[in-house]
Symmetry: C2
Subunit: 392 residues, 2 copies
């Protein structure tokens, strides 16, 4: 493995003259990542339904895995014994592991948090676990991802300002402790800005963490139920106070329209389970919006899902075949739709980047948004709420 | 598509001096099939979890699809409009379609049978359907498989001799009607021998159908709950009266030990959902028997499932990783286990064939059976009963 001497090996190549959008490259021990980039979610050491070869064929240079899920199952020690996460899942591209903060605060039952760390129950066997910032770094060093994240406390969308501020302050303390104990110099440790939907707190959090000189900065605690206009306002507020020479990673955002709008506000990295999750539901990304392949319209459609798409699914099968597989609940359906949606999102990222490099991002952005009909905001929020509730 | 002038394009290459085992080739419009051969089941125009490319990589030259399932969903007319079954599922290898007889008699509720045909209800929407031998040929001509099957009446394992005889006689009449109306000369139509577990009826059925000069003969109505010794006795009884120059296809048999024993009795073709179904349950074929990858033994196993196996799964992942995926119920688990089990069965068929060609089949057979510990007969039967009951 090649060591990176400068953990902040992020190079800005071009900025958009009309917006804050920017194109860059991120150098990791497992390959170069062009930015803006989207990271598909492989929480349990697998991007659901796909092999590493399929991720490669799509062109994805980096994926996300989750310390929380891997800690619970199979256990960090198992993956360490198997030679680390890359070897365990047979993926030689780059990996970012999330710290588990978000998952502990949104998924785990019975959590008690204090300045030391957080106690939670395993949703799998009910066992109690105590996690600290130091442990989270130890786990992520054992997993061996290229980019790792600090432990953060994530308040709920409807928490009071007082509670959000308390969580933010604790997140800052934890970030410092993570930074102090992190010892693997082939991994970059990113901080996570919190502050909920309070502009003043976002300002404070970004400024404080920027002063700690992390090699990268994530924006956490967004896209958890708040209206999109609020999400965008918080991104703007935060980005203003982040150092321009460090990558900015917006956690949990993955709808095409949100990605375009956040990229325009200076975001370099995105992750979300949305493209893969909705794929398994039959929702197919197109340049005109999300279509449901289960609809009867597709029953006799000889064309592929998206005629100009060059993903394996669109190159090989008719929309009618995919419709049939979904109606029969055949597993191949979920694979084929996942390949298409990840190809779509990755192509979108490439188009965004190319447009920034060509100096045509503004027109790309407006033409994309003019064509793309986003999923209805109300439906979206209620689906998201249902999904959040349904997760274990 | 290349037309075959001689529908019985089956060539015997070698017979075993110590048993009835034989090696041959079957020429189809979609490629040459070495025999003995195992056909994986793709009832709904998909071998569950896999793409056509993966089937190709395993080396499988022919698969099975089911007229019954495709008639119910998406409907024969849909597949015909999409250019036939090969194009619909993007599979350019050979296809055999089963007629649906077995499925109608084992899966569909409310069936009434008379000499004309059979009435059954769709388990999907409750609608009533009337199927005749002529319709089943018309459907299979529209689907366009390389090998198609006559409509047969399948009695239950515990039906009286009188009932079994009645079903057999009707199957003979239906076979003649299928033969008379079958018009596509690029398809080979195989007859199906019935007669339950009554040796005299098996003799009668084989002799009668042999006189009708079909290009191939299937043995139906076995492996539906009777003890293995009875299955083998019925195979022996039937094969005696089948023409030696025609392929013999044992329907629904797919466990490694049964395949070896049936091949030794002169069977050339096999199909069964077993290798793919048990794969999705975590049961992994090895040369020593079926192992369950969910067992804790595999939690830390760095080696692949089967160290000398060259399937994609064993080449790429540790047993520990597969164990993890199964514990998490990740879909990739089902894919990887399916690839392994189909590779195992296909390798077994190649070993059987090579041994026949080398004149070493007897010693291969005894050494295989000495090493391979079959799943306990009692467990096997109770699992099979449970599975038969659980199917829709």
């Amino acid at each position: 493995m090649r060591l990176i001497k400068n953990l902040n090996d992020f190079h800005l190549i071009q900025t958009c003259p009309d917006s804050l959008a920017r194109a860059g490259v991120l150098i990791t021990p497992h390959g170069t990542v062009p930015t803006p980039i989207f990271l598909p979610v492989g929480s349990q050491a697998t991007v659901k339904t796909l092999t590493p070869e399929e991720l490669k064929e799509i062109g994805l240079p980096i994926i996300l895995a989750n310390t929380y899920h891997l800690y619970l199952r199979p256990g960090i020690a198992v993956i360490e014994k198997m030679g680390g996460l890359h070897k365990f899942m047979a993926w030689d591209g780059a990996i970012l592991t999330d710290s588990g903060g978000y998952q502990i605060f949104s998924l785990a039952p019975l959590r008690k948090v204090n300045d030391d760390g957080v106690v939670f129950r395993s949703p799998i066997d009910g066992s109690e676990h105590f996690i600290t910032p130091e442990l989270v770094i130890q786990f992520q060093e054992a997993l061996g991802a290229d980019i790792i994240m600090v432990l953060d406390e994530c308040p709920a969308y409807d928490d009071s300002q007082e509670k959000v501020q308390q969580a933010m302050t604790r997140t800052h303390q934890w970030a410092e402790r993570c930074q102090q104990c992190h010892s693997r110099d082939d991994q970059a440790l990113y901080a996570i800005v919190q502050g909920g939907t309070f502009p003043q707190l976002r300002h404070q959090s970004a400024e404080y963490l920027a002063s700690l000189d992390f090699p990268g900065y994530a924006i956490g605690g967004l896209s958890i139920g708040e209206p999109k206009a609020v999400t965008l306002a918080m991104i703007e507020k935060t980005v203003t106070f982040l150092p321009p020479d460090r990558p900015r990673y917006l956690m949990g955002v993955g709808s095409p329209e949100d990605i375009v709008e956040a990229a325009a506000r200076g975001i370099d990295m995105f992750d979300s389970a949305l493209p893969t999750r909705v794929a398994r539901n039959g929702a197919i990304f197109t340049w005109y919006g999300r279509y449901n392949i289960r609809n009867a319209t597709y029953r006799l459609m000889e064309q592929p899902l998206v005629p100009d798409c060059d993903c394996y699914t669109c190159r090989t099968f008719s929309a009618a075949y995919l419709h049939h597989l979904f109606r029969c609940e055949e597993m191949l359906a979920y694979r084929l739709a996942t390949i298409h949606n990840l190809t779509f999102i990755h192509t979108l990222m490439q188009k965004i980047r190319d447009a920034i490099l060509d100096g045509t991002f503004s027109s790309f952005r407006s033409s994309f948004l003019a064509n793309y009909e986003p999923t209805d905001e109300e439906i979206r929020l209620s689906q998201k709420q249902k999904w959040l509730k349904s997760r274990k």
